[in-house]
């Protein structure tokens, strides 16, 4: 039990750091992010199951938004919606296609669903314009690259965590 709490808190903290750094760093394109915090979500799904991943995700978004001062802004709502949708998709892929889809595919699917839902929410909430459709392809193409990068990093991190944990 203590081990679980320690690991989940540590992963949440890492997630908040990624979330904050990505929000604070200047973006070339609005909304565009690498999605490094997704590494944490996948690791928790893999190691501790989906319910703990939901817990870590919401803690990360709420605390991360508090840190960056964006709580209850449109960005916060978009993060919650996108994060939940991508969590569901990634969980389903991990659960039902474990031998057919690797973590790269899982993370690419998660990243693109995150982007689609985020843009949809932005469209409903405040932009209300056809520009959304013009931006969507760009987001889908970039999510393939960022998702693949995040997937490879996740595989590597899971392997390191697996080796380190055995020693204690």
């Amino acid at each position: 039990m203590n081990k679980k709490i320690t690991e989940l808190s540590l992963l949440t903290a890492v997630g908040i750091i990624f979330f904050t750094v990505e929000t604070v760093l200047p973006n070339p394109v609005p909304f565009f992010r690498l999605g490094l915090a997704n590494i944490v979500t996948i690791i928790v799904i893999k190691r501790w199951g989906v319910m703990n991943a939901v817990l870590v995700l919401f803690l990360r978004i709420i605390l991360g938004s508090l840190v960056t001062g964006k709580i209850f802004t449109p960005l916060f709502i978009m993060s919650v919606a996108g994060g939940s949708a991508s969590l569901v998709i990634m969980f389903l892929l991990i659960k039902y296609f474990p031998e057919k889809v690797s973590l790269v595919g899982v993370s690419v699917a998660g990243a693109s669903v995150h982007n689609i839902v985020q843009l949809y929410i932005a469209n409903c909430l405040f932009i209300k314009s056809v520009y959304i459709i013009s931006i969507l392809p760009v987001f889908l193409f970039t999510s393939v690259f960022s998702g693949a990068l995040v997937g490879i990093l996740t595989i590597y991190s899971l392997r390191i965590i697996g080796q380190k944990i055995k020693k204690y």
Partner: protein, 137 residues
């Protein structure tokens, strides 16, 4: 180090299999969806809005029969915008890379020409859309 354990297998990294057929299917589906949205059929627009530095400098009717030439003062210098036969394009620009001229003629709802050095945005719309004042992220 990257492919040390399985030298001839590009689908492996760090000794783990990282590419299954399923991954390729997911990536293909996303790329196809992206292409579909890229070529999403859009209606023709009717209104041209020209903005400089975020301020609206002029709203023009796209389907005007007469040829119109509008000269706009951008940040770097003048910009000549032509509207003819339901299309709008930049014919002359004071910017160095001339990307706005290369973007060609536009006429569909939601399309836009952007000249970044001059801070000029020319967009085509169907009708007046409600716009937000500012978005904070």
């Amino acid at each position: 180090m990257f492919f040390s354990e399985h030298k001839n297998d590009m689908s492996r990294a760090f000794g783990n299999k990282i590419l299954y057929a399923g991954d390729l299917i997911i990536i293909l589906l996303i790329l196809v969806a992206g292409l579909l949205f890229l070529y999403y059929p859009r209606q023709n627009g009717s209104i041209v809005t020209i903005k400089v530095n975020g301020e609206i400098k002029g709203v023009y009717n796209l389907n005007n029969q007469n040829e119109q030439t509008i000269t706009i003062a951008g940040k770097k210098g003048p910009l000549k915008i032509k509207i003819e036969k339901g299309r709008v394009w930049v014919s002359e620009s004071s910017c160095h890379n001339k990307l706005c001229i290369k973007m060609g003629k536009i006429h569909k709802n939601g399309e836009m020409i952007v000249c970044v050095p001059n801070r000029v945005i020319i967009s085509v719309k169907n009708k007046e859309e409600k716009e937000v004042d500012a978005i904070t992220m």
